[in-house]
Symmetry: D2
Subunit: 120 residues, 4 copies
């Protein structure tokens, strides 16, 4: 198997199973846990300037790395629970995004696509 | 290249570059965007029972799939910005988790490891 | 002054001023901090059943109380920064909600108003 | 009754009751909804600079006002559900914060109190 995400999926399934934690892992709960982890990540950045956020000290970066891992872990677990393929999902979304945000029209602007005139 | 995440990383880099969006992609902003997307995912589940969350209608599931994609997209973008490897990060976290939550001790319990006696 | 929220606003302004923390309190940063606090609240509930969440042990409830306080604190600080009146904002929103969710039509349903037919 | 928050509490109770929505309002669900609303607020600011976040256009500010209202609404509803008094909670938290962050020691620093030496 060549896929990163598939191997991680298996590792996480085994981890939860060995602890009998699958009973807690409803999609609703996993979505809540994922949101909580995303905020723990954000907490590291909340009082920093954008520039400071680009230059984290090594110990801070090591903490941030583990927060990213937590988010990835819950994301994989949730995808597995819902029988969704994350890579296929991202591919699908990128096609939609390319249509919603044509490079020529949105270059250099952070406006949401809904704010563009002549668009639905 | 055999890695899912590496190919997605490249695709996302190209996407942002073509739109000159890299200027908005400070780690601070990406962490905020990731949190916002996680909450959009949670919104689909917030009033459902856990059981209902296991049995989504196909159209709802298709929406959830795109939310998972958004989270994965920002997670990859942020990891790249910080020069972190998501797979290595997850591996590292799983080792730590195995130590913090020994299967024998935590089986069937959702308590945080900090709530266990005799632990730091 | 009869207003709860006005007295709290003053207390919070003094607190931040005495610490020279106003420099960090841009609306962007306060919104991030508020989100982080909301997730810390959610963390207490994430693995509980809905029923368990109605019956918190006293020590857990005391922790939850302080999370609610944190959210209220950032909410007041942000409203003040933006020169918005929280009570007026809630009044305005309740009028909108009453229109969006007519009691007769939505009784007992958690569907978002956007999911109702014949509505914008 | 002189209290802002008490009058709002009553209005929100009536609103939910008229729609038979109390069944959805477990503390767990309300905490999730509150987090979702906090992120909707953050979404308005995520790509702005801190400076831009201080100077919102009137239409943007009107949207932000309603997001603040949503957060306040769920915060009041949750406090009521848990029989907690928000004003008392904030008072309690401010006493704790004054102890954790003595003005003389933390002036001008955004470091978390846990990062200070000689503190638990």
């Amino acid at each position: 198997m060549n896929s990163d995400l598939q191997s991680l999926t298996q590792a996480l399934r085994d981890f939860a199973k060995a602890r009998d934690w699958e009973q807690f892992h409803s999609p609703k709960n996993l979505a809540a846990a994922l949101t909580v982890e995303a905020s723990e990540l954000l907490e590291h950045f909340q009082w920093l300037t954008e520039e400071q956020s680009c230059n984290l000290a090594p110990d801070k970066l090591a903490e941030v790395e583990l927060e990213l891992a937590d988010i990835q872990i819950y994301l994989i677990s949730l995808a597995e629970k819902l029988k969704l393929d994350l890579v296929a999902a991202v591919d699908k979304k990128l096609v939609l995004n390319a249509r919603k945000y044509p490079a020529d029209e949105v270059r250099g602007s952070s406006k949401k696509y809904t704010e563009y005139k002549n668009r639905t």
